[in-house]
């Protein structure tokens, strides 16, 4: 589904990604862990198409298509979704209007036609109830004044509604209380399917008890320095990143 080959990216001359290779097959769940500043969010933004980054080398294929040539909305329409570490507040755009516009824009781009308002409402109601997103939050401007946890739940609501093929979750667990973590994880797990892949960026092994990964990667200084099964996360929890940071410093 996703093939990242030798990806290099920089911002204003600072090299941030320095040769990422990563393949995620359909139905797989991959986790990326790594110290602060190692480039995890940068990778997620580059995948989603944020244009602050200059790609100096490498390629990204999504179901065989060259993602780097697509605009963010085109990437979304082919099934890429990024639940952001810091969801953005948009004053003046009602959450509900936003959800409907996004869903219909994607449907139209895929030639599926717009969803009728009653069908849309029904779907949103159902999903928001599961994710504990209140009607009030749907009426309010997008993310404005939402608490950290509310923003994260709202990201997962968008994901559930848009039904992407690849879900990238950037620290969706940060800032969630214990109950919210369970709600969000259930929401994510409900989306698991043999056709859908996930890339979960996290600092905490705890999340991976709920969303169990097939592969865990360690990212450091813009590279994937180690990959393993879910036990790798447990080892990291215990020993930290000294092994990698030490090596790199040497």
């Amino acid at each position: 589904m996703l093939e990242i080959k030798n990806l290099h990216a920089e911002v204003e001359g600072n090299k941030i990604l320095r040769g990422i290779d990563l393949t995620i097959n359909a139905g797989e769940i991959h986790a990326i862990m790594g110290p602060n500043g190692s480039g995890k969010s940068t990778l997620s933004y580059v995948l989603a198409g944020k244009d602050d980054y200059e790609i100096t080398e490498g390629e990204i294929l999504f179901n065989g298509e060259n993602v780097l040539e697509m605009e963010p909305h085109e990437r979304a329409a082919v099934g890429l979704f990024l639940a952001m570490q810091y969801p953005i507040e948009i004053p003046g755009v009602a959450n509900m209007t936003f959800l409907k516009t996004a869903l219909n824009a994607q449907r139209v781009a895929r030639g599926e036609g717009e969803l009728k308002t009653p069908d849309f409402m029904k779907k949103v109601k159902e999903l928001s109830a599961k994710l504990n997103v209140t009607q009030e939050m749907l009426r309010r401007p997008l993310n404005v004044g939402f608490s950290g946890g509310e923003k994260k739940r709202n990201e997962i609501l968008q994901m559930a509604l848009l039904e992407p093929k690849l879900c990238i979750l950037d620290e969706t667990d940060s800032g969630l209380d214990i109950d919210a973590l369970r709600i969000v994880s259930d929401g994510v797990n409900a989306l698991k399917s043999p056709e859908r892949s996930m890339l979960v960026i996290t600092h905490y092994q705890r999340l991976l008890n709920y969303i169990v990964p097939d592969v865990v990667h360690v990212m450091y200084q813009g590279k994937i320095v180690k990959s393993g099964d879910k036990d790798l996360a447990l080892q990291l929890e215990e020993k930290g990143y000294a092994e990698f940071t030490g090596e790199a410093a040497a």
Binding site: A48, G49, K50, D51, E71, P72, H73, R75, A76, A77, F81, L82, M84, P87, I88, I90, P91, G92, V93, F98, T101, A102, L103, A105, Q106, A109, P141, Q158, L162
Partner: protein
Amino acid sequence: MTKPTIKTAADEALEGLLKAAQENLPGNSDFSSLRSAAVSAFEQNGLPTRRVEDWKYSDLKRVMPSDLALAEPVDAATARENLSGSGILKSVDKIQLVLVNGCFSAELSDLSELEDSVTVRSVSDALQAGDFVLDDPEIAKGDIALSLNTALLQDGVIVEIAEGADLAKPLEIRHVMLGGGLATLRNRVVIGKGAKVGIIETFVGDAAAYQLNSAIDYRIADDVKLNVMRIINEGDQAIHLGSTTATVGGNVHFEHFTLSASGQFVRSQSFVAMLGEYSDADLFGASLVNGKRHSDITLKMDHAVPNCNSKEQYRTVLDDKAEGVFQGQIIVRQYAQKTDAKMMSQALLLSEDASFNNKPELEIYADDVVCGHGATCGDLDEDLLFYLGSRGIPKDLAKKMLVMAFLAEAIENVSNDQFVEALEGYILDRLGLSE
């Protein structure tokens, strides 16, 4: 002015017209001497140069045509044909008072629908009868647009609303310009103590080149609740000089919203004097300026007494080669303690060729006050566009959503939901976002 100004073709044309028009204009000798004084002042100074602070960013010398003529009268039947139902507030139920090419038309107005508490007569009648007295607030004195208005004043409508009236429907003063030329009018709305009133001022016109100098005076007694919607929806070649003067009594709630939607050159200026204690004035506005249009919102708010609040919030969206201006001045006089005055002007530039001059000013002579002003001018936030894009919303649509959102925040201040809905509907339509 000490130095004689160099007269441009536009100055000469206007001067010629001012002189020629004098003998046919209505008014007794008192008013005639006001007119003559205004004409002499114009002969001396001409149109303001860019050195005149208040007109620095809106260059009348450049925009006024050199082939000026007075707008011709239009008969009611012709006007009616051109008054077709479309309009930004068309969904709002209202009683219309219509002026065509500056002249009040009883025939086109819904006079029979007026409530008993409302009386209407024309300014030309009042001028003939010698009882139209100019009593501009201090801060409006010396303004060139008002001075030209006096010099050429043809007509207008005087609306008097009785004490304690509670109008069921808003009154719309609809200004229609047809066939080109210059028209000059002045309306007056006198509101008795404790009345609750909604006024809509609408400005529309055809595609001909016309110049409208329009003024309106609000004389607001104590305890009044007044809601004004000013909709500037002029024709593509229109020059609109619109002035509002307001004197505000005590314990008043005055809400004033301006939509600057179209017209080649729009100057919408307001002079508000807070003269009674414990009053609130909320002045809001949204401007959409595109093409090579010019839109100027100028405000002078005078706090002359203690314990009043005023809030100004204006938002402007500029595209193409449009020019926008916001000049806001709040004066808090020495005696006006406990004034709470806030002013904010925000502009969104959608094109590199668009420009905006943002000039908020505070002049405070009292010491126990809360005053603040802010001004921002920027382009669309790339992070917001990316967020919307990452959810599948194409850039063009995302931009429109953000423009709508930006203006919606100004419109939401309007307390009447029907107006809010109509304004939002108009902007959605204009952006091509309506369902």
